[in-house]
């Protein structure tokens, strides 16, 4: 009997990581896999070199399990990371004869320009006005640098901005990055 499915169309055109891995020796250790949605979204290559994949062999549809691999995202190597999205049907295996294409593309990726930003930031205008009025009431002296604060950057794996502590340039709130 032919079956007709009714529902929402899926965004993904691939297989789950575990469906790929269970056909390979050692569950695909050392093989390269990539996510189709990343390959369409970004110019730079993004792929994983699998180090350990443990599928849940009793799960229905073989879509569950844990996995880890060396992550290369947009040409940048993030080291060995856990792969939480292995169950998404978005993965494709890279044939061994095409691996060199991906590796060369990742090596050729130019290093991103590091954003350098000044270390002082002006206070927001209303806050600055309140502080100035307060200073006036208490007859305290203030100058250009009183109502400036030091910038703090929350550094994480995607944010590589650097503070330039040598320049005297300040940034107002309007032009804040």
């Amino acid at each position: 009997m032919p079956v007709k499915y009714i529902g929402r169309e899926s965004f993904f055109h691939g297989k789950s990581l575990f469906q790929i891995a269970r056909n390979l020796k050692n569950f695909g250790e050392g093989r390269l896999v990539y996510r189709v949605s990343f390959s369409k979204r970004y110019e730079e290559p993004s792929y994983y070199r699998l180090t350990s994949v443990k599928p849940d062999m009793n799960a229905k549809g073989y879509c569950k399990g844990t996995a880890a691999g060396e992550k290369i995202f947009r040409g940048e190597n993030f080291g060995i990371c856990n792969i939480d999205v292995g169950s998404k049907l978005d993965w494709r295996l890279i044939p061994k004869e095409e691996e060199h294409i991906w590796l060369d593309a990742a090596a050729k990726c130019s290093s991103k320009t590091v954003k350098v930003i000044p270390d002082k930031l002006e206070l927001p205008p209303l806050m600055k006005k309140l502080f100035m009025e307060d200073y006036d009431v208490h007859e305290l002296d203030y100058d250009g640098s009183t109502f400036q604060v030091e910038r703090v950057i929350n550094k994480d794996k995607f944010n590589h901005a650097v503070i330039n502590r040598t320049s005297t340039e300040t940034v107002t709130q309007d032009s804040a990055v």
Partner: protein, 478 residues
């Protein structure tokens, strides 16, 4: 004429019967197989005592409790599979199925896989092994290099070219081409199957019956069927073509024109005509090549190109809800214009080939000469030597693992024994000191009675509506 007669006789059932089996020459000699070294393991004390059937059944009963196999147990059992009779072969397949689902089965151990494959071959259960190897997800039998060569050799010796080709497809799917002996034997199997037992009939899709009732299934998300052109290949023509192409590219011992011819035939069967034309163009333009391809290969490729099915580029795309894997495969076919371009390009390349560049060489004769060459014998010898060194390291590791396993099991048994003794001692002490400790015992029993009485007295209280599930404000301690 004599060669063709011998070829036909070779495939006849008469010669494949046990009486005539030794008429077919085995490809691998004992220098590679190292049967003597392998049989010596049975003299080891830990293998001598094991009865395969009883040990296997004991393992299965213990699995019911522990839900786990120890790799040591599996290795000991695997080395004795050849003693199982055909009616008890199910014990081995059940153990392998359960072992695949255990955590201890990863990483795949070459010594266990070698023992399994060799045990099945020596026990005469090859027919039951082949479906297990094909079902990689459930059984996970990935033969190591040496045992895959032995398996291919046995199948080729029996004249079972179709099944030997199935094993060659498995070699291609794993994409591990470092071991040249395995590449060569898999390629031999593919070529023999291509020449003799391959059924080139194209399988048509089942026609859609318009009167048949459609079953509507509501799902949250309709998954897109994706054809990965590797593990999903079902058509044997494509499998054989891809195997011929990949193996001939990666086998080092072949003459360059032989390798090129096989690649061309492979790509023709696999229906990747644009890639094949590109490769042929590169070879034709390379003026350093004396012979480009064999005439037989060109003829086969031309036949495949002319017979290639096409798709209608203006056909309506299949709706999301009806799409199947076959529709995805259909999209990879050439359109009539693309096919025409491929044919015209091929004709121009063929006409640009000079007379001496396409020698008339039979593919099967060529592979037989490779198998009889001295380079092959060197490969056999080195293969046998690597096997003996590996085998020694496997046996040493097994001894070490077995000793540690036995100490662990003994320790556990000892702990259980001590626990039982302690329990018995405690009971004995209670009996002996009953009258001394009677007042304590009475207190304990009275407390227990009060607790049960309190539980009985508690009546189930249901608050009126409006006052249920109100959390009392906790008093903060300052």
């Amino acid at each position: 004429m004599a060669t063709s007669m011998i070829r036909r006789l070779g495939t006849s059932k008469l010669l494949r019967s046990p009486r005539f089996r030794h008429a077919e020459r085995t490809i691998l000699s004992d220098a590679f197989k190292s049967e003597q070294v392998w049989k010596e393991r049975l003299t080891y004390p830990f293998f001598e005592k094991i009865n395969a059937k009883e040990f296997g059944i004991e393992m299965l009963t213990q699995f019911e409790q522990n839900k786990n196999f120890s790799p040591v147990d599996v290795q000991l059992f695997a080395n004795k599979i050849q003693d199982l009779s055909e009616s008890f072969e199910y014990v081995a397949s059940n153990i392998l199925l359960r072992y695949r689902h255990c955590d201890s089965s990863v990483p795949v151990r070459d010594d266990i896989m070698h023992a399994i494959v060799r045990g099945y071959i020596d026990g005469g259960h090859i027919n039951k092994l082949l479906p297990l190897i094909k079902d990689k997800a459930q059984y996970g039998i990935f033969p190591d290099e040496h045992s895959m060569c032995l398996l291919l050799d046995q199948l080729l010796e029996d004249g079972d070219y179709a099944r030997a080709a199935q094993m060659a497809y498995e070699v291609m799917l794993q994409e591990e081409y470092d071991y040249q002996m395995r590449n060569l034997l898999a390629l031999t199997a593919a070529i023999k199957h291509f020449c003799y037992t391959m059924d080139f009939v194209r399988k048509e899709r089942d026609p859609v019956d318009p009167d048949e009732d459609i079953e509507y299934v509501a799902v949250k998300v309709i998954t897109n069927p994706y054809y990965d052109d590797h593990f999903d290949i079902k058509d044997e023509r494509f499998l054989l073509g891809k195997t011929l192409y990949n193996l001939s590219k990666n086998t080092a011992m072949l003459d360059p024109e032989f390798s090129r011819s096989l690649q061309l035939i492979g790509l023709g069967l696999y229906e990747k005509f644009e890639l094949a034309n590109q490769l042929l163009e590169d070879w034709v333009k390379d003026s350093s090549l004396k012979n480009v391809v064999y005439s037989e290969a060109l003829k086969h490729y031309e036949d495949y190109l002319n017979d290639a099915p096409t798709r209608d580029p203006e056909a309506e795309p299949v709706s999301m809800s009806d799409k199947t894997l076959d529709d995805e495969i259909e999209l990879l076919k050439l359109t009539p214009t693309e096919k025409g371009n491929c044919i015209s390009k091929f004709e121009s390349l063929k006409s640009s080939l000079k007379e001496g560049q396409t020698p008339d060489v039979n593919i099967e004769d060529k592979i037989n000469t490779v198998l009889a060459s001295s380079a092959f014998k060197k490969l056999e010898k080195s293969g046998g030597q690597t096997f003996t060194t590996n085998f020694k390291s496997w046996m040493e590791k097994l001894k070490v693992d077995l000793d540690s396993y036995i100490t662990v099991v003994n320790k556990q048994n000892k702990m259980v024994e001590i626990h039982n003794k302690l329990v018995a001692l405690q009971e004995r002490e209670e009996l002996l000191r009953y009258f001394e400790n009677s007042h304590i015992l009475k207190k304990i029993t009275r407390n227990m009675e009060e607790e049960t009485k309190e539980e009985e007295d508690v009546v189930e209280y249901v608050a009126p509506p409006g006052q249920r599930n109100i959390k009392k404000a906790k008093k903060k301690k300052f």
